[in-house]
């Protein structure tokens, strides 16, 4: 059996700067893995390369046995990798439901002509997409707000809507870029429960970037650490906690700060 998801020796340079160098990772089906590192370590660059928003300078990325290194991001989404963004990127002026309905667009079967002529086949498909999307909103507890504009949602719910929207593309792997950023402890606990729940329900692989150590240690089974674009450690939360290199690069400062 081919590996589920693999990045091999992936490097990305911006001019003379090596944002990510020689990054390799293998993820299995249903795994929940964290990617941590100090600010500017290249975590989001890794995500951008996986989702086709940036082309790696070297190395390759395979998904279900297919090389997806050079695919465009919409093609990668269609193959089953979805993501959320560090700075929330919702379709602000569209309703909560419409935000999620966009995620079904790549799989639409009826042509634009049948949409323009209002053929019954298209109507049925619209209805199916609507119900499918409402299902994901219910899962996220956002169904009562379906017709609210996305920009009017409180911050925590906007983050949740982003996850619901990504889930609606029916991914095999979900990338969460700092899902807990800016949340209070209550919201973080709720989010952790939500992430566990969706993993169980859909059986998907989750790969997440997070700054909150407690959150990451609590939720992830495996953690990968990078610093200055270089991977420096990989292991279970306990291993990472006691890894001297990680402590000196990153955790030392944080655990002092947390007292």
């Amino acid at each position: 059996m081919s590996t589920f998801f693999q990045m091999r020796h992936v490097t990305r340079e911006f001019g003379g700067l090596r944002a990510v160098s020689d990054f390799s990772i293998t993820l299995e089906r249903g795994e929940l893995t964290g990617l941590i590192g100090p600010n500017g370590a290249g975590k989001t660059t890794v995500f951008n390369m996986i989702t086709g928003m940036l082309r790696p300078t070297a190395g390759d990325i395979t998904w279900n046995g297919e090389n997806i290194t050079r695919l465009a991001s919409h093609q990668i989404t269609a193959r089953g990798i979805a993501r959320t963004f560090q700075n929330i990127k919702l379709f602000a002026d569209m309703s909560v439901l419409e935000n999620v309905m966009v995620s079904s667009h790549y799989s639409i079967e009826s042509s634009f002509l049948s949409a323009m002529l209002g053929l019954p086949k298209h109507g049925r498909e619209e209805k199916r997409i609507r119900e499918h999307s409402l299902g994901y909103l219910e899962q996220a507890g956002l169904a009562p707000l379906a017709f609210e504009k996305a920009q009017n949602l409180p911050y925590g719910l906007q983050r949740k809507l982003e996850i619901a929207r990504a889930l609606a593309t029916q991914p095999g792997m979900l990338l969460l870029d700092e899902p807990a950023a800016g949340m209070n402890p209550m919201e973080k606990m709720e989010l952790a429960a939500f992430i566990r729940r969706i993993r169980e329900k859909y059986g998907i692989t989750i790969f997440l970037i997070e700054h909150d150590m407690k959150f990451v240690m609590n939720i992830c089974e495996r953690i990968k650490v990078i610093n200055y674009g270089q991977p420096i450690a990989e292991g279970t939360p306990d291993e990472i906690r006691s890894d001297p290199e990680v402590i000196s690069a990153y955790l030392g400062g944080v655990s002092h700060a947390q007292g």
Binding site: H74, A82, M94, M101, H105
Partner: protein, 350 residues
């Protein structure tokens, strides 16, 4: 509100509209009919232009190019070979245009198809860029078309233009096409395709991450918009009956832009209101150019005064309704129903 009721309301309002058109067609003066024709054509133009600028959020400044292509295509196809002989006095018109003649309806469809074909060709360079750059590229396209119309004497008759077209365009044509355009484009906007286009407008990166291919969706919008602009160009040609490159300058685009911005970018209803206001308002304001008597004072008529007033009105609209008259909302039956319900509530409260 249920579907059946909506359908009935739609039918009733269509019948009403055609009733009004029928009355004007029968009893209205030539001047009134002309204004109504203008309104119909400008509705088609504004609604199809709004698909790009309002729904997809691209600052496209070249619809004048597509309108010109449509107007010339339709005119050249509907003229009789004898008329072409009369028009082309400097250079003979090239084969096969000199022998072809098709019915008006066919020439309109051809106008749309040819305009869409040009849209297809230029969408490759145009859709590589966004924002100001896209505006400049499309602006350039509009200008190139105009210059080409001027220069290719043996196809377009150059600056002399085409004269003596048969006035095929009547109220049924201009409003029939307008209604068809509104229905079809509105259906598209409300479908999942429209959602994808709006998603690109709101956040292109996020749209791509959700599996939307921006290039294909924007090209689709571009082609559809050009198709209807081309048809409206054909209607315009057969309304004015004389076309020349000077008719399709950037000023035409500029007027369309004003219509959709005043009406509300992204709202089809807004585009309709904007087009109607523009086509009718410009004429209605002619009163201010006539000599007026206020009490003992007599104000002599000032030519050009209506454009001053018109500009002032535009400024006021934008000052007080910065998102245009409609914003991004649509005047639908549901919208009216909720407004009515709100009004009723306010009546029953003390």
């Amino acid at each position: 509100m249920n579907k059946k009721l909506k359908f009935r309301l739609n039918v009733v309002s269509l019948v009403l509209l055609f009733g009004v058109l029928f009355l004007f067609n029968r009893y209205g003066s030539g001047y009134q009919v002309r204004i109504l024709n203008n309104i119909g054509i400008f509705i088609t133009l504004a609604v199809s232009y709004n698909l790009i600028n309002g729904v997809c959020g691209l600052l496209h400044l070249g619809p004048n190019g597509f309108i010109a292509i449509g107007a010339y295509t339709s005119a050249l196809l509907s003229m009789t070979p004898a008329e072409k002989e009369l028009n082309f006095i400097i250079e003979h018109v090239i084969w096969p245009i000199d022998v072809i003649q098709v019915p008006f309806a066919v020439s309109l469809v051809a106008a749309g198809v040819v305009a869409a074909f040009f849209a297809f060709l230029i969408s490759f360079p145009v859709l590589r860029v966004r924002g100001d750059y896209l505006a400049i590229v499309t602006l350039g396209f509009g200008e190139v078309v105009r210059v080409l119309c001027n220069a290719s004497q043996s196809v377009t008759n150059g600056p002399l233009g085409l004269k003596g077209l048969y006035p095929h365009t009547n109220l049924w044509w201009s409003w029939g096409v307008a209604i068809l355009t509104v229905v079809v484009i509105q259906r598209l906007i409300n479908s999942n395709y429209g959602l994808a286009m709006k998603a690109i407008r709101e956040d292109e990166t996020a749209a791509r991450a959700m599996g939307v291919d921006p290039f294909r969706r924007l090209m689709l919008a571009f082609l559809i918009s050009a198709f209807f602009s081309g048809i409206a160009g054909g209607l315009l040609a057969h309304l004015i009956t004389t076309i020349s490159p000077g008719l399709f300058t950037f000023f035409l685009t500029f007027n369309l832009l004003i219509m959709i911005v005043v009406g509300g970018l992204g709202s089809t209803t807004g585009a309709i209101i904007g087009a109607a206001l523009f086509a009718w308002g410009g004429e209605a304001l002619r009163i201010v150019e006539q000599p007026m008597e206020i009490g003992r004072f007599t104000i002599p008529g000032i030519p050009g005064m209506r454009m001053v007033i018109f500009s002032l009105i535009l400024m006021l609209v934008i000052l007080f309704a910065r998102k245009g008259i409609m914003g991004r909302s649509e005047l639908s039956w549901n919208f009216l129903e909720s407004k009515l319900a709100g009004w009723r509530r306010s009546q029953t409260l003390p």
